[in-house]
């Protein structure tokens, strides 16, 4: 009985730690994202390929933004349980949202530095970052956002 508790306890502690600290950090990140997104509402972003009114374009340049976000132990564990029954993996939805919004914000920051007011042809690239096999539960994802920033005359 004692040895059983000894085996479960470390995992349980990590799960609780992952849940508490992870949830708190995630909430803080979302608040930060919302606040920063309010600062960029003046830059129009579309995923259309052909820039409208090309005669008024002063300059065009590629802008990029990058973010690698890891999920906490509790979410990884919950998602691995989901693998047994299948279905929607809600744990990872927030992970993807955070990575995408962070990458987009960084791209918009670059666009702002160039004095651009529009970003055209926005694209996302997503890759899985896997740790060297020690802990296969570990999930982190990289989102790369890029587009063409336009400065109008």
């Amino acid at each position: 009985m004692w040895t059983l508790w000894l085996q479960i306890l470390p995992v349980a502690v990590l799960l609780v730690l992952g849940f508490c600290v992870g949830t708190w950090r995630e909430r803080r990140h979302f608040e930060s994202l919302a606040q920063r997104e309010r600062e960029f509402t003046d830059i129009g972003v579309v995923n259309l390929k052909t820039v409208a009114q090309p005669e008024t374009v002063a300059s065009a340049a590629l802008v990029t933004g990058d973010a690698v976000i890891a999920t906490d132990y509790f979410k990884s564990f919950a998602a691995s349980l989901r693998n047994i029954v299948g279905g929607e993996v809600r744990s990872y939805e927030t992970l993807m949202q955070r990575a995408r919004r962070e990458a987009l914000l960084r791209m918009l920051q670059r666009a702002r530095e160039l004095g651009a007011t529009e970003v055209w042809n926005l694209r996302y690239e997503t890759s899985n970052i896997r740790s060297s096999g020690r802990r296969t539960l570990a999930v982190s994802v990289e989102v790369f956002a890029f587009g063409t920033a336009i400065v109008r005359r």
Binding site: L17, G18, K49, A60, V68, A70, D72
Partner: protein, 104 residues
């Protein structure tokens, strides 16, 4: 060198298409970054080490692509795309490609 991911440079005309240009890097992860990632995988959050690594790698891939375009005497690269491929465990190839053109 003007670099865009649209098919044309808006407001300019393409005089000549030089051809496909590309640049890539293969980066292996750093052990130190991996240890930090271990902690972050417990509590969640951004892996800043990896973000920097990948940003730098892409920048280098783009530089190589631009160098190729300069050799062809182009002054712009259009329709730039990026891909990432896992080569082996712990290493990834970052690849950037586009079409080098001469614009007026």
């Amino acid at each position: 060198m003007i670099v865009v991911n649209t098919e044309v440079v808006p407001g300019r005309t393409i005089r000549e298409v030089k051809g496909l240009v590309q640049g890539n890097t293969i980066r292996a992860k750093h052990m130190g970054r991996d240890i930090a990632a271990g902690l972050k995988n417990l509590i969640g959050g951004e892996l800043k080490g990896y973000t920097e690594l990948l940003t730098e790698a892409r920048r280098q891939a783009m530089e190589r692509m631009i160098a190729q375009a300069q050799e062809l005497e182009a002054n712009a690269i259009v329709n730039v795309r990026f891909t990432t491929s896992a080569v082996t465990q712990g290493a990834a190839e970052l690849y950037a490609y586009g079409t080098a053109v001469v614009i007026d």
